[in-house]
């Protein structure tokens, strides 16, 4: 396969002859630490969030191993509280929220728009360093005594517990601003740096999804910032607004917290939707069914997500009338979400489906997200939620969304754009096997949690009555399978960087602009500034021999 490629020997002098790309453009620590190139920043994010994911995954593994026995197999109850908190905080704030926008978004969004970079490159680097600072602070908080409040920092417990809540609060504040700056940058980039001819309705849906995400990041995250700041102030000088001893109202904290943290669910999931929209189209080689509907549904989800946060507070002493309203409004989220799911399925239907590994991850997403989404509708119903609130049913539901959907979409996207980012291709057979193992492991982990949750097993408990043991043990077996699958995935992805099996310029036959740039792209992305004349996802001009669209 490599015979017609002039120079693939990385060690020989011939490597000199290869065109410079963003990775080998310059070398040395400072050329990365001080880089303003969106692809390098994205790559640093990719490494960073992957490490965070593996840390969070390790904590998850510890939690599940502990729950093998009804009385807890590994830790004291206090340690268990810290470990599940670490799992939640690392996964939510350090992995899921920045994962897709920070890594794939940073690398792909400017390419898709035909831009040379994001609009504000220095802010982009600042955003990465804020993320890094937040991650370091969170790790520091572990050293400074840990934190056992759960990732939600509910008051009044978070005000009374004798742990490093201020440090982790500061970490969340800093991570919040990292997220805000990424979102802000993407909005400006999308508005101001589109290539000539790239109209709003020629933008790939990944861009639309990131745009909607960015609006949420900008409009919701500041409220989280002030909330964690207030919790820190409460601990430092006892303002009293969240502290019932001092006349405060813990439910007010929950309002503040969920005003951000419900939209945050969509900050996490909308980029995943964007990836899936791209991938179903490319790997089915078919224009997306309902392009505009998917684009608008992203915006609709973004807006509706601001109206439903109270569904997290159905058992918190909120007024019943507010609960009616929140429950009612929650159902509206299902409409744009279902529009997306149906559109993806309709796109695959009668498509020219190539079961490449990114497509396998995508199909796994479609199944898992259907379950995750529908159980969300169940939980949105007020009366049902009173029973299911704070049980493993909720845990299973949001893991179907956060792990099963978002992490899988992230994996799908990494597999899809891997050849574009590095110019190499991984072992496709291993990739398919890993995807299968992950799918089986994931469902084995969380289906038992749905069952025991519906039977009343409360979440976050270090111990449980023996009746639940079979479900917990099945779940623990599932997580081990999942871990094997992920380990395999990490192995072949990293190995591909050393094996250097050269990828095609346009590995999957995509027609969005990033596939027109050289592989891997050079510093300012395109040799010639692209001009867009085709409609989006128009595969009619794709030459299947060369996988190229005619150069315009």
């Amino acid at each position: 396969m490599t015979t017609n490629v002039p120079a693939v020997d990385v060690h020989g002098a011939a490597a000199e002859a290869r065109p410079k790309n963003f990775i080998n453009w310059s070398s040395g620590f400072m050329s990365w630490a001080g880089t303003l190139d969106h692809k390098r920043i994205g790559l640093m994010y990719l490494v960073g969030v992957s490490i965070a994911f593996l840390c969070g995954g390790l904590f998850a593994l510890l939690v599940r191993l502990h729950l093998w026995e009804p009385n807890g197999a590994l830790f004291s109850n206090a340690q268990y509280n810290q470990i599940f908190t670490l799992h939640g905080a690392f996964m939510v704030f350090i992995f899921v929220i920045p994962a897709i926008p920070g890594s794939l978004g940073n690398i792909i969004l400017p390419l898709m728009l035909g831009a040379k970079d994001v609009a504000l490159p220095r802010l982009n680097l600042l955003s990465f360093y804020l993320w890094l600072t937040g991650a370091v602070l969170a790790t520091l908080a572990i050293v400074l005594g840990g934190f056992d409040t759960g990732w939600t920092f509910y008051t009044p417990y978070s005000l009374y517990t004798n742990q490093a809540v201020v440090t982790i609060g500061l970490a969340v504040f800093v991570l919040g601003f990292s997220s805000i700056f990424t979102g802000l940058n993407f909005i400006v980039t999308t508005h101001k740096l589109r290539a000539p001819g790239m109209t709003w309705f020629r933008m790939p849906l990944f861009v639309w999804a990131l745009y909607a995400t960015s609006l949420l990041q900008v409009l919701a995250t500041p409220v989280l910032g002030i909330t964690v700041l207030l919790v820190a102030f409460e601990r430092l000088y006892h303002i009293g607004i969240f502290d019932p001893r001092l006349g405060g109202d813990p439910v007010l904290f929950e309002h503040f917290f969920w005003f951000y943290s419900h939209p945050a669910v969509y900050i996490m999931v909308l980029p995943a939707f964007g990836i899936i929209s791209e991938l179903v189209s490319v790997h089915s080689r078919k224009p997306l069914f309902g392009y505009k509907l998917i684009a608008f549904s992203s915006l609709a989800i973004a807006i509706i997500s601001f109206l439903v946060w109270g569904h997290h507070m159905f058992t918190s002493g909120q007024s019943t009338y507010a609960m009616f309203a929140f429950s009612f409004l929650t159902f509206f989220v299902a409409i744009p979400t279902a529009i997306k799911e149906f559109s993806w399925v309709a796109t695959v239907w009668k498509g020219s489906i190539a079961l490449n590994s990114p497509m396998l991850y995508t199909l796994a997403f479609l199944v898992i997200f259907a379950i995750g989404g529908l159980t969300g509708v169940i939980l949105g119903a007020l009366n049902v939620d009173i029973h299911l609130h704070d049980t493993y049913f909720v845990v299973a539901h949001f893991h179907y969304v956060m792990m099963g959907s978002i992490a899988l979409a992230f994996f799908a996207g990494v597999h899809h754009w891997w050849p574009k980012m590095f110019g190499v291709i991984y072992n496709e057979t291993l990739a398919k096997i890993a995807c299968g193992i992950i799918f089986i492991g994931f469902n084995t982990t969380f289906i038992p949690q749905f069952i025991m949750g519906s039977r009343g097993m409360p979440r976050r408990y270090a111990t449980y009555v023996p009746e639940y043991a079979p479900f917990h043990q099945a779940s623990t077996i599932g997580v081990i399978i999942l871990a094997v699958g992920i380990a395999l995935m990490v192995y072949y992805l990293v190995a591909s960087l050393f094996q250097r099996k050269k990828a095609m310029e346009n590995q999957w036959g995509g027609v969005t602009l990033e596939w027109l740039a050289p592989t891997p792209p050079p510093l300012e992305n395109f040799n010639e500034p692209p001009v867009v004349t085709n409609e989006v996802y128009d595969y009619s001009t794709l030459d299947l021999q060369t996988m190229r669209t005619p150069v315009k």
Partner: protein
Amino acid sequence: MSHDGHHSVVIPAPGPEFQAHTVAHHFDTPVQEFQSAKLGFWLFLATEILLFGGLFAAYFYFHEVYPETFRLGGQQLSWKLGALNTSVLLLSSWTMAMGVRCAQTSQKSKLLMYCGLTVLGAAIFMVIKFIEYKAKNDHGLVVFSELFSPYNEATGQLAWFKDYHNAMVDKAGVPLPHGHLFFAIYLTMTAIHGLHVVIGAGLILWVMKGAAKGRFHAGYYLPVDLVGLYWHLVDLIWIFLFPLLYLVP
């Protein structure tokens, strides 16, 4: 800042005392650069509104729950100092607006003068704020030296709220419920606002440094414009803080 021989766009200096501006390499035109930065900054200002918004929500919430505490708390603040500070900030907002105008019209020395006046306004504001805080400290309403002392669980007393003159009591002399809440919110809101004043003044000093070198003129005044917007936001928030805290409705 061209990487591979691409020609960069340069905005020429309007006169010998000014510097030319090179448009960043990833922008095609000066207008694109200007509008991108402006859009980004407005988005940032929107986040500031939402950040302060959480504090305002807390204010309104507890104003609703403890109206009498808030009414009496407001009376402990000096509305005269508050009104004076409002006027100082409004004036400084005006000098800043005039400063931006001078940048737009390439009037270097007047730009420096107006920026200097704005920083002076910020300084006066902070001095008055300090006088206010000192008075609260002396009345035991916010005892700064005890601010971070722990809460006494047994007595239910906050170390920083002593109320030496029994200001926060009802007509019968019974302490109002949670009298400290008003002062805690007052302190938090004005301290975060004050931090913005200090940051704003720092940014204006930075603008003055660039202005002295002649970086800003009719062709390129983006940083002056953005710092000006930030300063007006500081003013904007104070416009709401003043009646809510000093004249509690």
